[in-house]
Symmetry: C2
Subunit: 598 residues, 2 copies
């Protein structure tokens, strides 16, 4: 089983050369500003934690899986201890407000840490990440008393948490949910119903679990307008934050899944359990809005992380495994064969991985800075960053998770038959990564959100923010001849994005099915475009370092080569997506249901 | 867990409407010619066997997997019994020559049966398929005495067999193999070495296992020119075909794999085991050539089969699962929501599956007829069919397995979160399908075989055979205005295929790395092109039925809709592949090894 090593050189490249994080963090107001030393300590610390504590749990978590026994759930060996160490290290409160007991650091750091730690074992990240779900809900909609009651132990990592949305008959269509909330005289509610797919719904890690749950108050209107958000603790919590009696919350089974087996996916029964309303009745989706966006970017990070590990392992294998001679003559004449790294098709797979993974990381880091600015920038920055995030969040979720699966699959392919056996870990990565395009809103849901709510819903304004920004960048770079091979095509691509959007929206006015029939192709087009912008930024930064006489020529030339590969060999896919998106709704709607076959 | 139902209407469409199998079979010489009644009985029989005997083994095979205990391998419950029933049904000898104890039917029937039975459980097909490996070797290179000794019990299904090629240090690079063969005075050889990834190397199903194994005779030249093919029985066989003593063949472990868990993948040790040369010393690869081609098409069938089941199950789920309303108004106003089938993006996924699966099936059936003609056609037909097969075999292996994985992945996506849990079976399909792009020569190996050995190696002649044929077809259809929307684009695509081939081969003359850097994109381009031809043939047939006033309008209009979808929404991918292929070898070779990263 290969070991995970945190890609610190890549992190450094993005933070220093591409996104000038020092200036970025200096410009924030209202949060702790990490000094370069603190930033370094956080990254080093999380990298070491990932490599030494979390990564060793990767294989064992899959082998043992979680065990259900009469309502109790046992996590694989080491998970509880690692969670405890993570909590003790102060990682759970990293980006929570200082006045609520967190460290008050900017959210972007959370994404950086999440990639590194989650690359060790994404199942581990599920416990730490979901533990923050009630935190986000409380910060967004909790009363001061509620915050005081729950936040300290959630942020210290003594307690964990969940998101309870799905029911067996309602997944994407959350408005169908049936879980009931009955108002009590004391202002609390009795929650009754069954939720499925609850990650970390039950576990043997923390003494209490704080469920964030969507339910329907008696008499509420049907659909999404009658949905309210509650906090339901596994054990009731007194005003001082100490936990007491059990609250009628029970786990009736766990799912047997394709992957992420160390993450307990629970069926949870609420049987008149005490629940506490967050925000207003029937405004649950609004109250959960912040959580959903965070979870979407968090899942995009999973696509990045699984891809990174697959790339790293495939690269190491390709450097070591010897099979056949290079067609242009032996490169390793002393050996029986050349390392497979010499073969152009193996290089094609590896550089595809590199271009997608590093592009995805840049996109996530950009989003991280935007999240920082949306909360801690000045007024204009907050507005502009929020608008960009509205557009970019579904793009990142859809694209990073879809491309993450491509990268994981290529990793297995590089290993050949040895990739299909469990010993090399890569098949587990493929399985673990597979859920990412499904949960937190499928790719189809992200794509509809993008083209429908965001682009069409804003009358195109949200898209224009992004295209104006990128066009502005292209104009700035117009005289930068060293990267004109990228800037020109990027500029054309932005025109094509506008063109495509215009065509789809014009048709959608006449027929709303035009949205759904083109949405995923549109989202993928948008993702490739966003990554093209990231690759120009990275090529620009790399060229500047080379011009400045850096001694790390392999590293920086590698960036230019990956950018070139991305532009010449991956971007042509955008044309295919555009043509598919423009084929019209008839291409999927004209066939009768019976016409699909038996 | 959904049930598998054999797609008999689809089989019928291809055999009757598209490929006129009655005329085809009538034209063969030297084999049994199936009457329409016999053909029907074979298809019905294998469909029933698949549905009633094999399909129930699908889930249990994955849950139990194979068990290794001190050299013995235990297959999951029911596999041995199903194999026995299959053998008793006479299926093993279906296409083997009548004078060797088979039923002498044309090979195309083997592909048809293999899809149906393998759709029930591909792991089951591994046992029956590999049992035919020594049959193919013996038929190709065995002496009459050897055939008499081994064939009867292999064809009756009393014995099974294997292909032993891979060693831990040599997979794609078979020339590196180290297994030794020492010549004995009696003409036999002592075989010593360790082979890995041997499917069915040990099992509890048959009383004997006949291994086909590649080894190197003492003093043989290095590389592939020193490789010989042997038969090594698990238990020695007397001249009369009865089995006796054990032969020093042992299984030391089985692999834990991502999928196909019911198929035992064994590490096999040969310790001075008696081996019997097939063909000539050092000509082992030649002797194995027929087997490799058969195995490649057989693996293409796996891509088709896994895709078919994924499509069938996703379609059934989409018809039943209710989530959200159609954007164009409720389609199921009595229900809480509409079936997800109404949503354009779900339809997009389903029709993508349909277009790829049914295109792949047509391609396999075409190959089946070509295999028939290559053996039982007249002299000109044999030559022409063999030439086409040379070109189409690597295309089919690469394309049907790659697209089979896309189809399986889309199936899981249609199921959403319910697809990630084991209960619905679709995640197992994704795992079972994943090996198909790896074994029997990876996609990269197929692609190099295509562009290097086949296209370049024939000076373009093999490609011209195919393009001439398809151009001829387009000319015949020039006045068929009903399908001109397909014929025109197909004609242009063939020109583009020629153009692309010309560009790559011109560059390759100067730099052989141009082959490897473009090969997979070229193979995928070729695959999409082959399917385009298939879809025009299917559209043509469907239109003819509609014109003739068929009452099955949904079925035949569905074919036209799928063809339209294929042409407008899938074929644009060919441009992306062509542009990527033409980006030049520098796109993957100019980056230094260090430049890839750490």
């Amino acid at each position: 089983m290969p070991q995970y090593r945190a890609p610190l050189r890549e992190v450094d490249f993005l933070l220093k050369d591409v996104f000038d994080s020092a200036t970025h963090y200096d410009g924030l107001n209202g949060c702790e500003q990490p000094t370069p030393e603190l930033l370094d300590a956080i990254i080093q610390g999380s990298a070491e934690f990932a490599e030494q504590v979390v990564s060793p749990l990767f294989a064992i978590g899959d082998q043992q899986g979680c065990r259900f026994d009469n309502g109790d759930v046992y996590t694989p060996d080491g998970y509880a201890e690692a969670f405890r160490l993570y909590a003790e290290g102060g990682w759970q409160g990293l980006t929570a407000p200082a006045d609520e007991g967190g460290q008050g650091l900017p959210p972007s750091l959370g994404f950086i840490v999440s990639e590194l730690v989650g690359s060790g074992s994404w199942a581990f990240n599920m416990y730490t990440g979901l533990a923050l779900a009630p935190v986000t809900c409380l910060l967004g909609a909790g009363t001061p008393a509620q915050k005081q009651q729950y936040l300290p132990k959630l942020l210290s990592g003594e307690w964990a948490g969940t998101m309870c949305l799905t029911e067996s008959h309602c997944g994407s269509d959350v408005g169908l949910l049936r879980t009931k909330a009955k108002r009590n005289d004391d202002g609390s509610y009795d929650i009754t119903g069954t939720k499925i797919f609850v990650s970390g719904g039950e576990q043997d890690i923390t003494e209490n679990i704080i469920h964030s749950i969507l339910a329907r108050v008696e008499g509420a209107p049907p659909g999404t307008k009658g949905v309210s958000l509650f906090i339901v603790p596994k054990r009731l919590v007194d005003a001082g934050g100490e936990c007491g009696e059990f609250n009628g919350v029970s786990c009736s089974s766990i799912e047997h899944k394709m992957g992420l087996k160390a993450s307990a996916t629970c069926v949870m029964n609420f049987d008149g359990s005490k629940g506490y309303l967050l925000g207003k009745e029937n405004r649950g989706l609004e109250a959960m809005f912040g959580l959903m966006n965070t979870a979407r970017v968090g899942t995009a990070v999973q696509g990045l992380a699984m891809g990174q590990v697959a790339f790293q392992w495939a690269l190491a294998y390709a450097r070591e495994r010897e099979q056949m001679r290079s067609l242009t003559g032996a490169k390793n004449p002393e050996g029986e064969a050349d390392p497979i790294m010499v073969h152009p098709d193996v290089r094609r797979m590896l550089i595809t991985q590199k271009a997608l993974v590093e592009g995805n990381r840049a996109l996530i880091y950009w989003l991280g800075q935007l999240v920082d600015l949306s909360r801690f920038g000045d007024e204009a920055e907050q507005k502009s960053a929020s608008d960009l995030l509205e557009l970019l969040t579904p793009i990142a979720k859809a694209f990073c998770t879809e491309s993450g699966q491509e990268v994981a699959a290529l990793g297995l392919q590089v290993f050949g038959g040895h990739g299909y056996v469990a010993d090399n870990g890569i098949e587990q990565l493929v399985r673990d990564a597979r859920i990412a395009t499904v949960y937190e809103g499928t790719t189809g849901i992200q794509a509809l959100d993008l083209i429908g709510r965001k682009v069409l819903g804003s009358g195109g304004a949200l898209l224009r923010n992004a295209t104006d920004l990128i066009r502005g960048y292209c104009e700035e770079q117009a005289s930068n001849t060293a990267i004109s091979e990228f800037v020109g095509p990027l500029s054309k691509l932005i025109d094509a994005w506008d063109e495509l959007t215009k065509s789809i929206t014009e048709r959608a006015i006449k027929n709303l099915d035009e949205l759904g029939s083109s949405s995923v192709d549109y989202a993928m087009f948008s993702g490739y475009t966003a990554l093209a912008y990231m690759w120009v930024r990275m090529a620009d930064a790399a060229q500047a370092m080379l011009d400045a006489g850096t001694s790390e020529t392999d590293f920086y030339e590698g960036k230019l080569a990956a950018a070139r590969f991305y532009f010449t060999r991956i971007l042509p896919r955008t044309d295919a997506h555009a043509r598919a998106a423009l084929a019209g709704a008839d291409s999927v709607m004209s066939i009768t249901d019976a016409g699909f076959g038996e």
